[in-house]
């Protein structure tokens, strides 16, 4: 039996890796992957707590998160394709024309 704290620590580590990936990497695709890590760290927490409480709510939440995230990534990639048609780059710094 793996204790609950291991799952929570795994979730926290994944979340931090994801968050630092978002801020440190400059490639849009890698940033999107880092965001996925952040969302999945929340999912690990949900499922772990759900198992711990013997309560299905957390697992239901995790399934919804997975579904919505799929839609979110589809939207993000669609926008990325539109962007690529106008400017062929994946570097965040080369996209910016508006200041701020």
């Amino acid at each position: 039996m793996i204790p609950l704290s291991w799952y929570v620590i795994l979730g926290a580590v994944l979340f931090m890796i994801g968050l630092s990936g978002v801020f440190l990497r400059r490639n849009i695709l890698v940033i999107l992957m880092s965001v996925e890590l952040m969302l999945n760290s929340a999912n690990i927490n949900f499922v772990a707590f759900s198992h711990f409480f013997q309560d299905l709510r957390g697992q239901v939440f995790a399934i919804f998160v997975i579904t919505v995230t799929a839609a979110e990534v589809a939207v993000a990639l669609g926008i990325l394709v539109a962007l690529m048609r106008n400017k062929r780059t994946l570097k965040v710094d080369e996209i910016t024309i508006m200041k701020g």
């Binding site: 927490n45 711990f52 939440f61 839609a71 669609g78 962007l83």
Partner: protein, 479 residues
């Protein structure tokens, strides 16, 4: 769970059902409509929103729960739904000519607005972190696409890309916060969280962490410091009617969620979050008011102005209690009229090749179009909070709620920043009234745009003169 209960739940959520099923039908209808007669979709969308508003009226006055307590219809939800209906109707009216000028006239535009509306309604009615999350995402996904709707425009692409990435990050932060709350309390229902919190020590590190994550996630949605950086770029790049919509609708729904989550579920932990929110509110006010001073693009200036306005509304949350909630509700309602109004004025400036986004473009407007300039003057004075416009009333009740709750220092700081903010609104007024025009003004004043501007103008003036009825409405709608 029997059939009777299902029917009752269905009927309780009938406005949401109307909006979302109509949006799905309109996607199909759009395929059978000839190019160039897309106005039909706009009229059908308007009819949908009005139908949903009628449903909400029919349900008003009672407090009902549905879907195992995940969804609640009460005065509070009804009030915020009215605000988002208003924002959607005005956005549709203002979009009709704009999307022709920009050559982005597609049926999906209105359908996405309706989906965003559905998401905001679910947010206003959400009584469980799961339903709130789903509403939030339905709204956000639709708005991401709408932001990038001008596919051939680099600025629109860039705005959508920034919005979707930062939005996804904020969702990740919010979800992590929700998962911690679930771990602490064993539930995601707001009522049960409130009960569970009474057994948790106020200084619990995990609780502090969870609240910080939740605040960060929600602060992004209402563009509060330090999560406001996306707002100016996204507001500048998005099609202007969508900018107007985003600055009112999602923000109102965001405040509905913030009020319900913090003053209902986490009221017991207020000593933790109240200081954080107060600091965020003051810094949001400062950033919004000060950076707006140096903007040359009116959409960017209004973006910073809307950041500052979120700061005032957050101060109402700090005041707390029934007065605090009512003052935020009234603020959001009034803000809808005046902000849609000023964006409406920017939208009708767009005609042919003329963009009309530079503040200098408004030089001497009053000499050529006195009536239009007067309308803009009313909106700008209202945003600055000058009596007798509605914006003054909105700020006034926030200050009253702050002083009554003993936060006099915060009220003084807010009043100082509103004086600073008045400067950049009045700078536009000065350009319009004190300078000679450099060229003619060809306004894109279609009947739909006239109606929208008329509604905004009437709302801004009437609430300013007769505020008591609206304040009473807000006060009886407090949860």
């Amino acid at each position: 769970m029997d059939f009777e209960a299902l029917t009752r739940w269905f009927l309780t959520s009938i406005p949401e059902v109307i909006v979302i099923s109509a949006a799905c039908c309109l996607l199909m209808v759009d395929l059978f409509i000839k190019k160039g007669s897309r106005d039909v979709i706009a009229y059908l969308s308007l009819a949908t929103v009005i139908g949903a508003a009628a449903g909400t009226f029919a349900l008003a006055g009672s407090s009902q729960q549905a879907y195992s307590g995940m969804f609640v219809v009460d005065g509070f939800a009804t009030f915020f739904k009215m605000v988002v209906y208003l924002a959607t109707i005005l956005s549709i009216l203002l979009s009709m000519s704009f999307i022709k000028v920009e050559a982005i006239e597609q049926g999906e535009y209105y359908v996405l607005l309706l989906f965003a509306l559905g998401g905001m309604m679910i947010m206003a009615s959400g009584a469980d972190l799961l339903s709130i999350y789903l509403g939030l995402e339905l709204m956000a996904l639709s708005v991401y696409v709408l932001t990038g709707f001008m596919r051939r425009d680099r600025r629109s692409n860039e705005a959508a890309m920034k919005y979707v990435i930062l939005g996804a990050v904020s969702t990740g932060i919010l979800l992590y916060g929700i998962s911690l709350v679930y771990g602490l309390t064993g539930t995601t229902r707001l009522v049960d969280i409130a009960t569970a919190l009474s057994h948790i020590d106020g200084g619990d590190t995990a609780l502090v962490l969870a609240l910080v994550f939740l605040i960060s996630g929600f602060a992004f949605k209402v563009a509060a410091f330090p999560f406001h950086m996306w707002a100016p770029d996204v507001y500048e790049g998005a099609p202007t009617p969508i900018t107007a919509f985003m600055s009112v609708g999602p923000k109102a729904a965001g405040f509905a969620v913030i009020l319900r989550v913090f003053l209902d579920a986490f009221a017991g932990a207020s000593e933790i979050w109240i200081v954080v929110i107060a600091v965020i509110a003051v810094l949001t006010l400062a950033i919004g008011s000060l950076v707006a001073l140096v903007q040359t693009n009116i959409k960017r200036m209004l973006a910073y102005s809307s950041i500052a306005h979120a700061g005032y509304a957050l101060l109402g949350l700090v005041a707390g209690g029934e007065d605090g909630i009512a003052s935020v509700m009234l603020y959001v309602f009034i803000y809808a009229f005046m902000n849609m109004g000023i964006f409406g004025a920017v939208i009708v400036m767009r005609k042919g090749d003329f963009v009309g986004e530079n503040i200098a473009d408004y030089t001497g407007l009053s000499k050529v179009r006195p009536g239009f300039a007067l309308l803009m003057l009313i909106f700008l004075f209202s945003l600055a909070g000058i009596p007798p416009t509605a914006g003054f009333i909105a700020k006034f009740y926030i200050f009253v709620a702050l002083i009554q709750s003993g936060n006099v220092a915060l009220a003084v700081i807010a009043a100082l920043f509103s004086a600073i903010a008045a400067f950049f609104y009045i700078r536009v007024v000065m350009l319009m009234y004190m300078k000679e025009p450099t060229g003619g003004f060809d306004l894109n004043l279609t009947p739909a745009a006239r109606i929208a501007l008329g509604i905004c103008g009437a709302g801004t003036v009437l609430i300013g003169i007769f505020p008591s009825w609206f304040l009473d409405m807000a006060q009886i709608s407090v949860f």
